[in-house]
Amino acid sequence: MDEVVTRLLEAERAARKLVDDAYNEAKRMEAEAKAKADDLSKKVYEEVIEGARKLAADEVKRIEEETLEEVKKVEEDLKKELENLKRTALKNFESAVKLVLDEVFKP
């Protein structure tokens, strides 16, 4: 009878140890998962933000290039307008001078 009890107790002890080990292993796995989750989260976060930074830099560069183009166009338009003004003024110069002279001697 003693042998029966002894073997049963041993079997129970072994079973408990197996289950306890499993729980311990589960805890270790959870801790490991949390650490891995932290690492992966940081990596994913950095990847997305880095991608956005690059995208933003490209977008800013594109807008700056467009700005330069537009500034160039304003400068070209200005140049043309000044040339046109000069040409028109040259054409009408005599009439304008005559207008001033006429008014100057008309009290």
Binding site: L18, Y45, V71, F105
Partner: protein, 210 residues
């Protein structure tokens, strides 16, 4: 013998149950570990995407604001340059007019015109004693002021007495009634100054009409 046989079976059952329990625990732990990783990554990705969107929006808006500001500044600068250019061209007209006045004052036509201006000034001041200022060159023209005084005296039916002195201006005259203190300024500079506000508009209109 039967007891031993049943005991073995019982021990086997205990071991099997424990094994199954342990496997359940491990399986559940694996599932939980996957959920932890998946949840954390999804959360990080979602947070990063929100921040990325904000970052992109902020950078884009900043660049667009800078672009608007630069373009506006450029357009205002261009507008200012056009105005300056127009002003210079108008100034050239005035300078040329002054240059021609200097030529014109040497002509007989100017002499006649000056006489007419003197007469007009006497009419405006209604005769009487008048201080007449001419520039040095016009004083040297030796205008017949007596004849002018006599003519206007008859016209106005009252005496006209011209007292001449020297003034410093391009051409024309300044006349002042000694009785009333009223002064008329028919100098080129005075006329230009009085008329310039309206005349400038007319000159600009004429000068820049295609």
């Amino acid at each position: 013998m039967a007891i031993i046989g049943n005991l073995d079976k019982l021990i086997e059952v205990i071991a099997k149950n424990a094994e199954e329990e342990a496997q359940r625990v491990i399986a559940k732990a694996k599932e939980r570990a996957n959920d932890i990783i998946k949840g954390a990554v999804e959360e990080a990705k979602s947070r990063a995407e929100r921040e990325a969107s904000e970052l992109l929006k902020k950078e884009r808006e900043g660049a667009l604001r800078k672009r608007r500001s630069e373009i506006t500044k450029m357009r205002m600068e261009a507008f200012r340059k056009v105005l300056e250019h127009k002003e210079r061209l108008i100034e050239e007209v005035v300078e040329e007019a002054k240059r021609r006045v200097n030529e014109y004052v040497k002509t007989e036509d100017y002499k006649n015109r000056l006489v007419n201006l003197i007469k007009e000034a006497i009419r405006v001041l209604n005769g009487g004693p008048i201080e007449l200022r001419l520039n040095r060159r016009d004083l040297a023209l030796n205008l017949d002021l007596k004849a002018i005084s006599a003519e206007l005296g008859r016209e106005l039916n009252r005496s006209v007495e011209l007292r001449v002195s020297e003034g410093s201006f391009l051409a024309g005259l300044v006349a002042k009634s000694a009785e009333t203190g009223i002064e008329v300024d028919y100098t080129v500079e005075g006329i230009l100054e009085r008329k310039w506000k309206n005349l400038r508009v007319e000159v600009a209109k004429l000068l820049f009409t295609k």
